[in-house]
């Protein structure tokens, strides 16, 4: 499998790998997995009082495309409002990274992860 340069860059220098305190009310945690390959991804966001994402972290156990997709998403969402981040589409990720069709599910995973993190954050705020 020939990976694009951008994938390799994110794979070799992943941005924002790490973990935040999932118990913190300003943190939203998204936990997703792809049954097709058995890979798992955790993506977390820290949201400021103004509803803007201040920080994002991820940890992905998966292929290079999945690592690159989640790394890219954490870069993108910083500074976005929750609504903007919720609008991210896996096709934007796949385009940016030039993913081949068999690797689309890896970018879907990253989209699902940011959505799940936002949902988790909103649930925490609502309750």
């Amino acid at each position: 499998m020939a990976y694009s340069e951008k994938v390799i860059d994110h794979y070799e220098n992943p941005r924002n790998v790490g973990k935040m305190d999932a118990g913190d009310t300003s943190v939203g945690t998204g936990m997703v997995g792809a049954p097709a390959c058995g890979d798992v991804m955790r993506l977390q966001i820290k949201v400021g009082n103004n509803g803007v994402i201040e920080d994002a972290k991820f940890k992905t156990y998966g292929c290079g495309s999945a690592i690159a997709s989640s790394s890219l998403v954490t870069e993108w969402v910083k500074g976005m409002t929750l609504d903007q981040a919720a609008d991210l589409k896996n096709t934007q990720i796949a385009d940016e990274l030039a993913l081949p069709p068999v690797k689309i599910h890896c970018s879907v995973l990253a989209e699902d992860a940011i959505k799940a993190a936002i949902e988790d954050y909103r649930k925490k705020q609502g309750s």
Partner: protein, 177 residues
């Protein structure tokens, strides 16, 4: 022999998760003999092509039925559920959290004071969980209700994650030696 039959029919075995591996191997040998390409040396091109097709089907069937995971996926497929090609079906977040933790432990195993012991322990844990899911699947796939079928599918989705875990453990074990 008819490749429109499903693998169980092809092998003359009952369509169930429970399966006698010895019987499967015997049937495989028998069928292989019947299909051996040398026996078709005098045949026309078309007949030979068909025999090649049969052989491919036979081997695929054998690999599918022999593997506990592939066999489970196949039984679901016969019921119209394809758990392998789903992208991100909703998986229980608690289960995913556990998977995340287990993958973390596998990743850190080489730095463990006793890497072999840690990997063996992980292997054991995964095997145990896998056995439980297989038992669950065997129970559920035999039941006629939709709920049972959903439960069977959910067990297989989890097995797919555990399968990846055990392959990761194996990979690390290979690297350590």
């Amino acid at each position: 022999m008819d490749i429109k039959q499903n693998y169980f029919e092809f092998y003359g075995l009952p369509e169930a998760y429970e399966l006698d591996l010895g019987q499967l191997a015997d049937r495989h040998l028998e069928l292989q003999k019947q299909l051996h390409p040398d026996r078709f040396a005098h045949l026309s091109d078309q007949e030979r092509r068909m025999s090649a097709q049969y052989t491919a089907y036979l081997n695929e069937g054998y690999a599918t039925l022999r593997s506990p995971l592939l066999r489970a996926q196949y039984l679901l497929k016969l019921r119209g559920i394809d758990t392998h090609n789903e992208s991100s079906a909703q998986i229980d977040p608690m289960f995913l959290m556990q998977q995340m933790e287990l993958r973390e432990r596998v990743e850190e195993a080489p730095q463990h004071t006793d890497p072999d012991g840690e990997l063996a322990a992980l292997d054991q844990e995964v095997a145990q969980a896998m056995a439980e899911l297989q038992a669950e699947f065997r129970r559920m796939i035999g039941e006629p209700s939709q709920e049972a079928l959903d439960a069977a599918a959910s067990a297989v989705r989890k097995m797919q994650f555990l399968d990846k875990l055990s392959r990761e453990i194996e990979r690390l074990e290979d690297e350590l030696y």
